[in-house]
Amino acid sequence: MSAGYRQLSMNDTNTDVIQGTLDMLILKTLSLEPLHGFGISRRVEQITRGVFKVNPGSLLTALQRLERAGWLDAEWKQTENSRRAKIYSLTRAGRKQLELETADWNRRSSAIARLLKAEI
């Protein structure tokens, strides 16, 4: 996955997206409603209460990739504040992909949770 991650530095609170989850975050966000790039970024930040911040370079690259994979559709539209923006929406294939990734994530995270519990 080519999603970009800033180098982790000691005096920085880590807001990087966990490796491999950016796609899922984007898909999930778009499953709620179609959004433009900045909207997605803001929404991720809001929902995760600032835990994750999405780097615009990584985001836009990921959007291109997801669009090419056929999971997103993109269209230039007028926004409410009358700017022209590229609005992304989830396709049927994207919805299916989201389900797959969600299931996969749940399996992994519960496994990790179990592991951590066992250690304590």
């Binding site: 900045f38 615009p56 370079g57 090419r68 022209r84 923006a85």
Partner: protein, 899 residues
């Protein structure tokens, strides 16, 4: 679905890059604006919000780059950039590019063409199942291969324990040829008589109908035939109903039982089109005398080994049979097998006679490819030396080493590709030329075509070598090397290499000299040869071979004369018809036809002059002729008269003798009126010399056999068939051909006419072999010359680059431009001189081999040698000129400052 999208989006990125870039920029811009607006909605001022957004997002340009660089099309785009840069580089150095491409094209093309020609003969397996189990079996006569008899065949068949089966076939001397009659023009077909299991032994079966049966291969067996696919298509339009139908061959009915598949490649007699069974008489083998055909050595034998049996086992098995005669199988003296049997794979057998020549050609080709590679290496090294500075600058500006390497690889590959394309063109032309020029008798000629494997091999070799060379300078110098190169060009390895490279250039020149000297000698020979007077006038002369076909023309014991009379009647009526054709001035028939491919022995007969007594029989060339033959041929009359209509069977027998014969037999007398026997001692009739004619060439312009006797067929015991018709025409002889043929067919439409050819063409073809060798040498010679020139150029360019500093110092110290020019040219000419000296030594030795191909010129002909040396010297000087010129233009201040 998504793959489609993946590709189409990529293509859009590739071709509509501007639009895509704009879109990305717009999206990022929008992102930024939204961020600013979000900041302002949190209560920041516009200015503050912009600053905050910028702090959060960072610099926009790298983001744009990052988004842009996503996708497969970007790798392609970089590559295209490299490619266009490489193309620009090559365009800027047109000389280098052209020279390299020519070198590669010649090397790749020539080696591929030759290998394509040689491969089917020597290397590629025969087109039969398990071809390595096929062996040829030969009788031995004085250590050489010799034919076998049917009796031997039967014995080997019965007693061997190592062969699945063995087949025999006739030796392909034309005895199995037949004339196809019936609808349409009668056609002489090349036939092959085979034992019934011939195709089974080879492992092929007919595509239509059934193979021969053992019951058909018996004495007086049914008349059956198998046709080749091409004959079936040509004469019977591929009609499958032909199977089981009858056709007329030489006046007899044959049933077609099968058609061979189009893919069948009959390597043992490639041009045969019709097969008939041998039908030997088994009863003769028990007759107690060895007189019948069944006991004569005239068969070729091919056997298929049992699976798992090795060749040496088979050799042992047959040797054991040969050395232990069995009373069950009596052997005549000539079939005693005392000298053993020779076993050989079919492939080696086919190539046996021409293998040494082919191996020599392959050797030359490998050398050629090597020379081409060396030249490319040379050129690339010289070029890289020039570009050290450029690489250093690029590295300093931040290009990674990988990037520089990639650039080099791209350039080399581009060069290799261009050279390869040109090489394919050269190879295609070369293969066509080879097939077109190849002398008759080259085996498996129909299998010769451009060999893709050979082409790929040559391409791969040159490319890999080019790549290695391309990478060498870059790989050889670590990162620091480039920085170092900024200050001065590297000279560490150059000195070592150049010794090897210079040695190779010397070799190239020597090789070129040998080839050019050979070409020159052959060229002279050819010119002298074609200006040789054949003794007759070949202009406006049309020739053709007319057969007689049918049982009435076949001499049969006990009285052969009716058949001979029938033949003569037909030929006479035919020639009269020919004479009535408007364009015909004179026409006659005779045998053998001078400078034709009539067999060498044809026409040799015993001649005895009256003055020499019965012991004075000499073997001389005898031409059987009709009236007007000598006139039509344009053979000059020296004294007396020609043979003409007077010389009938009942008239006193008359003969012509050639000038040289007259001179040697009757040095002090008039030969007219002298008497001689023609046709050996059996013939007691006296022929009287009525005229003396000029000498003519019989087998080749190069061969001198001037002593000959001419007699008329009406006064001869036998009338040969086929005979050659010679027709002198008033206009273009080739244009009269069809009228003449129709005139002959108006007498009998069932008689085949073959080898219709003008005499000019015949003379041209009679020297085909010499011409083939000549063209091969000329081609190789010019390629070698070009490559040698390129080699000198490459080495000198390299050395000028290396010596740039030295030259600069020289110039600074006051050396004039001429002096520097001389310095470099002398260096190049020194190489050329050494190469020429070595080449001369080689040529003295190697021309001995081609002595037999030379005519009217010594192999040490000084003019040829001097001419070639001058040519090489001139070419070498020209090759020196460009680098020398560059050296003389060196500005000392620049070179010295660069230090």
């Amino acid at each position: 679905m998504s793959l489609m999208r993946y590709i189409t989006r990529g293509l859009r990125g590739l071709f509509k890059q501007r639009a895509k870039d704009d879109e990305i920029a717009a999206e990022i811009e929008h992102y930024f604006e939204e961020a600013v607006e979000a900041g302002m909605s949190r209560g920041l001022t516009c200015d503050q919000a912009q600053r905050a957004a910028r702090a959060e997002i960072g610099n926009l340009a790298p983001i744009r780059e990052k988004v842009r660089s996503y996708g497969w099309e970007n790798a392609v785009r970089t590559w295209l950039q490299d490619l266009s840069y490489a193309a620009r580089q090559l365009r800027r150095n047109r000389g280098f590019a052209v020279v390299s491409v020519i070198t590669l094209a010649l090397g790749i093309g020539a080696s591929t063409a030759i290998f394509s020609a040689v491969n089917p003969i020597l290397l590629s397996p025969l087109p039969y199942p398990f071809p390595n189990r096929l062996l040829m079996i030969w009788n031995t006569y004085q250590g050489a291969r010799f034919e076998l008899s049917f009796a031997t065949y039967r014995e080997l068949l019965a007693r061997n324990r190592t062969f699945d089966s063995i087949a025999v076939f006739d030796l392909g001397d034309g005895l199995a040829n037949v004339t196809l009659q019936g609808k349409g023009i009668p056609e002489r077909l090349e036939g092959q008589k085979v034992s019934w299991n011939y195709f089974r032994v080879l492992g092929v079966s007919p595509s239509l109908g059934r193979d021969f049966q053992p019951s058909e291969d018996i004495f007086h067996g049914p008349k059956v035939a198998i046709l080749s696919h091409s004959l079936w298509q040509r004469r019977f339009h591929g009609d499958p109903a032909i199977i089981g139908r009858g056709i007329r061959l030489d006046g007899e009915n044959f049933t077609i039982v099968a058609i061979m598949p189009p893919s069948f490649d009959n390597v043992l007699q490639p041009t045969a089109e019709i097969w008939t069974p041998e039908q030997f008489d088994f009863s003769q083998l028990n007759s107690g005398n060895f007189k019948s055909w069944e006991w004569m050595n005239h068969l070729h034998m091919v056997g298929r080994l049992k699976p798992g049996v090795t060749r040496s086992q088979a050799v042992q098995d047959l040797a054991q049979i040969a050395s232990t005669p069995s009373p069950e199988y009596p052997r005549p003296e000539w079939g005693s097998l005392k000298q053993g049997l020779i076993l050989d794979s079919v492939q080696d057998d086919l190539a046996e006679t021409i293998k040494p020549a082919l191996m020599a050609i392959i050797g030359a080709v490998v050398l050629l490819l090597l020379v081409a590679c060396v030249n490319v290496v040379n050129l690339l090294l010289a070029r890289h030396a020039q570009r050290q500075g450029e690489f250093a600058v690029r590295t300093a500006l931040g290009a990674s080493r990988r990037r520089v390497l990639r650039q080099l690889v791209t350039e080399t590959l581009l060069l290799a590709m261009l050279g390869g394309l040109a090489g394919i063109a050269v190879a295609l032309a070369g293969v066509r030329a080879l097939v077109f020029l190849s002398p008759a008798g080259l085996p498996r000629i129909e299998a010769i075509q451009l060999d893709p494997a050979a082409l790929c091999f040559a391409l791969a070799v040159t490319t890999v070598i080019g790549l290695l060379t391309g990478l060498f300078p870059a790989l050889g110098s670590p990162h620091a090397g480039f920085t170092l190169a900024l200050h001065r060009s590297s000279r560490r390895t150059a000195g070592r290499q150049s010794v090897a490279l210079r040695a190779l250039v010397v070799t190239q020149i020597a090789l070129a000299l040998i080839l050019l000297v050979s070409t020159g000698l052959l060229l002279h020979s050819m010119r002298r040869l074609l200006s040789v007077d054949p003794g007759f006038n070949p202009d406006h002369l049309l020739t053709m071979v007319v057969h007689t076909s049918g049982p009435q023309y076949l001499p049969a014991a006990p009285d052969l004369r009716p058949a001979f009379a029938a033949r003569l009647r037909f030929f006479q009526r035919a020639i009269e018809a020919v004479r009535r054709v408007p364009a015909v001035r004179q026409a006659g028939f005779g045998i053998p036809l001078p400078l034709s491919d009539d067999p060498f022995g044809l026409g040799q007969t015993g001649v005895q002059f009256e003055k020499d007594g019965p012991r004075g029989v000499r073997n001389l060339l005898r031409f059987g002729v009709s009236p007007q033959f000598c006139q039509a041929m344009g053979i000059p009359l020296r004294s007396g008269r020609f043979l003409d209509e007077r010389d009938t069977a009942s008239a006193p027998f008359a003969a012509l003798i050639s000038e040289s014969l007259a001179r040697s037999e009757f040095p002090h007398e008039d030969p007219i009126g002298k008497r001689l026997h023609v046709g050996g001692i059996d013939n007691n009739t006296w022929y009287t010399v009525v005229g003396v004619v000029g000498d003519i060439k019989r087998t080749s312009l190069a061969a001198n056999e001037p002593e000959a006797v001419y007699t008329d067929f009406r006064q001869s015991w036998a009338v040969e068939s086929p005979l050659s018709f010679v027709i002198r025409t008033s206009g273009d002889p080739a244009a009269a051909a069809s009228a003449v043929k129709n005139a002959i067919w108006s007498i009998d439409p069932n008689q085949p006419i073959v080898r219709v050819m003008t005499m000019d063409r015949m003379i041209f073809t009679s020297e085909a072999e010499r011409r083939f060798v000549l063209i091969l040498f000329a081609a190789f010679g010019s390629v070698a010359l070009t490559l040698a020139a390129i080699g000198i150029y490459g080495v000198l360019s390299g050395s000028v680059n290396e010596r740039m500093r030295e030259i600069g110092v020289r110039a600074a110290l006051g050396a004039s431009r001429q002096a520097i020019l001389r310095l470099i040219v002398a260096d190049g000419l020194y190489l050329a001189g050494v190469g020429i000296a070595l080449g001369l030594a080689g040529a003295f030795g190697s021309t001995r081999v081609m002595q037999s191909l030379l005519f009217g010129i010594s192999r040490l002909d000084p003019y040829t040698y001097i001419g070639v040396i001058l040519l090489l010297g001139t070419v070498a000087t020209i090759a020196c000129a460009a680098p020398a010129w560059r050296a003389s233009r060196v500005d000392p201040s620049i070179t010295l400052r660069a230090e």
